[in-house]
């Protein structure tokens, strides 16, 4: 195995393009665990540590927030300039595993795995994040709902890597609720629900609900969001549950997930309402 320490993203993409089994490494929290268990045997590690600007969170003048791919979970969880809808991402960051893992793991590393039960993907979907991608052919952006395209799969093509994730400003007055169900605190979620809700007066007029851990990718159901805004909580929940396609795994059976999901959705939506999301 070789170790490369490129100074730019373009250089990193070039190294990825030149070697099929090279892997980028930022925090190492997922990749080195996979190396230790023999799931991956990279021919080279491309360290992103020397690429400037990759480990920062910045607020732009239009209110959007840009999170560099190598930003640690700890930094995102502690960032204090999220507004409204963006808060869902900071809350989810603080729920990832335990403090030492949050000192290591990065947002780019987390999303690139494409695990539907991970915390960031669900939150990023609810925040309507956009992914900035760099590859040998240049840059492109992909919305979160296209980035996660299958179980442990993303829209990243060969030799592409995530540069940053942009969170739009969203409604200023939105409240954020992240409801994570896990066997024990800090474990990977059995399921999670991310809710971003805003109101005008006491009526909900904006809702994004993302469900994680209940299908090959985290998902939203636009029709369910409209039903909820129109006052039909029960139908909204039914539509979201109908769209689930849960797996059975060591953390819970598909039946268990189907049984619990409507209850978690109800709790998260009602909590958001009570926090001021509107009725």
């Amino acid at each position: 195995m070789k170790i490369h320490k490129p100074a730019t993203l373009q250089e990193a993409a070039g190294l990825l393009a030149a070697d099929d089994s090279a892997q980028c490494i930022a925090g190492g929290a997922t990749l080195v665990a996979m190396m230790n268990s023999g799931v991956v045997e990279p021919s080279a590690l491309i360290s992103l540590a020397n690429i400037s600007g990759l480990n920062e969170v910045t607020k732009a003048s239009d209110g959007s927030v840009i999170i560099g791919a190598a930003t640690k979970h700890k930094t995102v969880a502690a960032f204090d300039s999220f507004s409204g809808a963006q808060n869902i991402v900071g809350i989810a960051a603080g729920k990832i595993a335990h403090p030492p893992i949050r000192n290591m793991g990065t947002i780019g590393g987390s999303v690139a795995v494409g695990d539907p039960a991970a915390d960031y993907p669900t939150a990023l979907l609810a925040a309507e994040a956009t992914f900035e991608i760099v590859g040998p052919a240049g840059s492109r952006s992909i919305p979160a709902d296209e980035f996660f395209d299958g179980f442990l799969s993303t829209a990243l093509a060969e030799a592409e890597l995530v540069q940053s994730i942009q969170l739009p400003a969203g409604p200023e007055n939105a409240v954020a609720v992240y409801d994570k169900i896990a066997k024990i605190d800090g474990d990977i979620a059995i399921m999670s629900v991310a809710v971003v809700m805003a109101s005008s007066g006491d009526r909900c007029d904006y809702l994004r609900v993302a469900v994680g851990g209940c299908g090959p990718t985290p998902y939203r159901v636009a029709e369910a969001e409209v039903k909820f805004i129109n006052g039909d909580l029960d139908v909204a929940i039914e539509l979201l549950v109908a769209a689930s396609d849960p797996m059975s795994d060591v953390r819970g059976s598909a039946d268990y997930r189907r049984k619990v999901l409507p209850r978690v959705l109800r709790r998260a939506l009602i909590t958001a309402q009570q926090m001021g999301g509107g009725e």
């Binding site: 170790i3 230790n36 030492p100 893992i101």
Partner: protein, 161 residues
């Protein structure tokens, strides 16, 4: 065939020159090349916390850290906490409260508690519980470990006053 790399690590204030295969983790280098066996190999997956060491004062998993990428940071292991004459306050409080049974988790627990109290000397039980939530102990039931951390906090704060 893996590249063999030569690089310098700052471990417990000493610069150590390492020559090792590129993929070796910090845990392997510490235990098998520097013979600092305080950090333990438990799960090798980042779950159990027995391999915890401090990098620039913050707890991380030695088993998930590639050693060759640790140039330029300060690594602290349990061996770097005490002087030959006396245990560190946190170590002594673990001894005094019975926070150590089999000892397998102790290095990671003590380093983690030490880091919590350094960054937040006012840490109470809730902060301590959150801080050590990534370290598994299969003997004590955690109560004596929390007692130890609270005792250490009291002593650090007492000494500061």
């Amino acid at each position: 065939m893996s590249d063999t790399l030569t690089y310098d690590l700052n471990v417990n204030g000493e610069i150590e020159t390492i020559t090792a295969p590129a993929e070796e983790t910090l845990l392997t280098v510490l235990r098998e090349r520097l013979h600092l066996t305080g950090a333990k190999r438990g799960c090798d997956q980042g779950v159990c916390g027995t391999c915890t060491v401090l990098i620039d004062g913050e707890p991380v998993r030695g088993c998930l850290t590639i050693a060759a990428l640790c140039e330029g940071v300060e690594i602290t292991t349990i061996e770097g906490l005490a002087t030959p004459e006396a245990l560190d306050i946190v170590q002594q409080s673990f001894v005094d409260t019975g926070g150590i049974q089999c000892g397998f988790c102790s290095s990671g627990m003590i380093l983690t508690v030490s880091s919590i109290l350094k960054s937040n000397p006012e840490a109470g039980e809730a902060e301590i519980r959150e801080g050590i939530s990534g370290n598994i102990c299969r003997c004590t039931g955690y109560e004596k470990i929390i007692d130890a951390a609270v005792l250490a906090a009291q002593q650090i704060n007492g000494a500061a006053r």
